[in-house]
Subunit: 232 residues, 2 copies
């Protein structure tokens, strides 16, 4: 980052970086709570997710305010400006990950209230493991300004999408075999979809981390080109 | 907007505003092409949507670059800064609306290839009419800096969500009556979901227009409070 004459400015930027990591850590916990609540039939965990959603929203608003204040008062340039622009792009993606976790929790509550059923537990757990690993890695890449690690996250989204398609096919088979499972299966389908969306948002964040470090907008490039830009 | 000594700066801001409206108009057309292609069984319209997706992405990237350039060179303040921050929030929402239109077109193509079926044509058309009306209104509110009109768009998202739930219930009934329709119905369900998401993104844009005009962040407020802020 640029060398600042102002220590105060440094600490403002540091506070923003810290808050991004805090929001990231919180939404990662939200995913876990939601998926464990679903597969472990744990109503209390699910309620916790719904309660903590307000905290996710508040952190996003605070981040936007902090970035707006830096833009208005500090007129950041070069890499500092890129940091602020990146945070303004990353924060809404983190907030949407929180939204998806909340949707999972709400659907899981409906499933529990209606009685348990055959759940693709293994696959949903696996999707949650994969997406939270991506999220942890991209937050770490953001903290360490590591573009190559961020590019790896972009690639990791591919098997998540494939696994989602697998869950979809499995649920369609359940429904065809036993049409009484249709309503329930559709809720599970939207849960799988939410996990797939979490992967997408995490991939978006990874693209912005590459931008932050390399100054190149890599959205809409294919993954080989993203890796090349990150390694350049 | 602030009175500028620089005519050049004025024309940069004007170019950004114009490009937002251009991107907005394009994604509105994309929604229509996708839904007409689906309900009218028109493969050429659907292909057009897929082709124009690159144009949507390019306009978003250009908008981000233009905003970044203004931040770096002009150090905008007050309402100009708010305009830039708003555009940086609005552009990704417009791009995602374009994404959803493309998803609709791709699923519609799969449905056509597999042969026609009972489609909730009326409801999907109605959802498309409602969401494109919201989109047109919010773009107009952005152009005219009309916070109250933007707040109305926030309220208009409520019946769209209700209609989506209705389509979901209708499709579940089809599936239970005739399990052979399951795969097809699930594609239609994701089409309805995409329209519902378009409503959500449009509502997000409306909240940012209220912020642009009133300087107040109204995300996460309920709709009555948004209207109060917009009228204040």
């Amino acid at each position: 980052m640029t060398d600042h004459t102002s220590k105060q400015f440094d600490s403002e930027l540091e506070a923003i970086r810290t808050k991004v990591l805090q929001l990231g850590g919180l939404v990662e916990q939200q995913i876990w709570r939601a998926v464990e609540g679903l597969t472990g039939d744990d109503e209390a965990r699910l309620n916790e997710v719904v309660q903590k959603e307000a905290q996710v929203n508040r952190l996003e608003v605070e981040l936007d305010e902090a970035c707006g204040a830096v833009l208005a008062r500090r007129q950041p340039a070069a890499s500092d400006l890129r940091m602020i622009v990146t945070v303004m792009k990353v924060a809404p993606n983190l907030e949407r990950i929180g939204d998806e976790a909340e949707k999972i929790a709400r659907m899981a509550k409906m499933i529990h209230e209606a009685g348990r059923m055959h759940t693709p537990r293994v696959e949903l757990n696996h999707m949650a493991t994969a997406t939270t690993a991506m999220l942890r890695k991209v937050l770490d890449a953001f903290a360490r300004l590591d573009a190559q690690s961020a590019a790896q996250v972009v690639r990791q989204d591919i098997p998540v999408d494939a696994e989602y398609q697998g869950v979809l096919r499995q649920l369609i088979s359940f429904m065809i075999e036993d049409p009484r499972t249709i309503s329930r299966s559709i809720e599970l389908m939207f849960i799988a979809k939410a996990l797939e969306r979490i992967g997408d948002h995490t991939k978006n964040i990874a693209e912005f981390v590459v931008y932050l470090v390399k100054g190149r907008d890599v959205r809409h490039l294919d993954v080989d080109d993203v890796e090349r830009e990150a390694a350049s």
